[in-house]
Symmetry: C2
Amino acid sequence: MARYQAGIRTEARIIDATRELLGEVGLEGTTLKAICDRAGVRAGSFYNIFDSKEEAIMRVVAEAIASVDPDPQGAGTDTVGELIKAYARFITGQSTVARIYLQTVVSGGLTDNDLAKRFLRHHERRVARFADAIRRTDPEIGVAEAGEDAELLLAALNGLAFHWMLQPAFDFTGHIRRIIDAHEWLRRRR
Amino acid sequence: MARYQAGIRTEARIIDATRELLGEVGLEGTTLKAICDRAGVRAGSFYNIFDSKEEAIMRVVAEAIASVDPDPQGAGTDTVGELIKAYARFITGQSTVARIYLQTVVSGGLTDNDLAKRFLRHHERRVARFADAIRRTDPEIGVAEAGEDAELLLAALNGLAFHWMLQPAFDFTGHIRRIIDAHEWLRRRR
DNA sequence: CTCGAACTTGAGTGTATGCTCAAATTAGAG
DNA sequence: CTCTAATTTGAGCATACACTCAAGTTCGAG
């Protein structure tokens, strides 16, 4: 834990370097050497501040999770459309953090139990947020149905985000508009 | 390349071991030692058959990609509902291969250019397959619109599959049914 | 300015990784 | 059975990995 200004600056450089590397080369390429080279420090400095490389990585992962919802205070007032647009802004606006979110959190969870648990808790909060927004617009639909709608929305959003990450020429925002339209149409079914 | 029966058996054991490990511990845990231990061979035997560890892994990845569509001969005749159900069967019925598909192919693509290209080609074929099925049922809709619908369907399917992989208690098939229903409803809009 | 705490370096540790290679063993054809 | 090709083993190579540690340097308070 850094106490002097110098240490605090070093800590920030290490976190920045870790974030960039996770976004560029994923978990596998984010070695201690790569982090230290990019941050301009030696391993001993790194371990003066962090107990392990994993600690630095989990800091960046936690940051990425926190970034998906840029407006936690909006809970209880926002609409589904606003939530969808906020997600789209996150994905297209902060591509490094978004890449870390998708790659490390989502798929890292397939092989890492801690990451899996962390992501599931986060996902549940996201589903609940969307379901609240759905029921606020349509109070007559049940909690379970709203939850299912929220799951489908989030699944589609995540799937589109993956495609966009792989192929930046993919028309992500166009498909986001279609999701909003489709959601509106399905509302009229009720 | 194995020529005698003994070598052919060894090759199969290595591929089986690689597949299991990729499904259980992902790319990072699939070390040469782990593969050889599980296959019951030494490294020298491995390198008598494969040029590199990567060659064995790409064999298994190619197999996973080929497995997503269990019925390539159905192209031109199948319905969207059938394609969706086939995907669901793939995900729930072969969990090791499905896990490899999602984890290695889809998200591995975020950091590996070869995997990314490979997956994008595969994804385009999948989108085209779904779009064909959509237009077969609704010939009046345009190619572009059918392609967009197909993208959304596949995005949602992939997103749900990720959730199911992370949390087997998640009601994957229930959500698949809702996707089929939603798709039918959106057809009636036209 | 001094002095102790914090930070940084450089050199190293122990272990794991993918891969090589020569000798030993097995397989398969005649 | 012989003999050659194929396969396998065991021992090792070179390198990379996360991390340690003592000495040197910088920081910050008094």
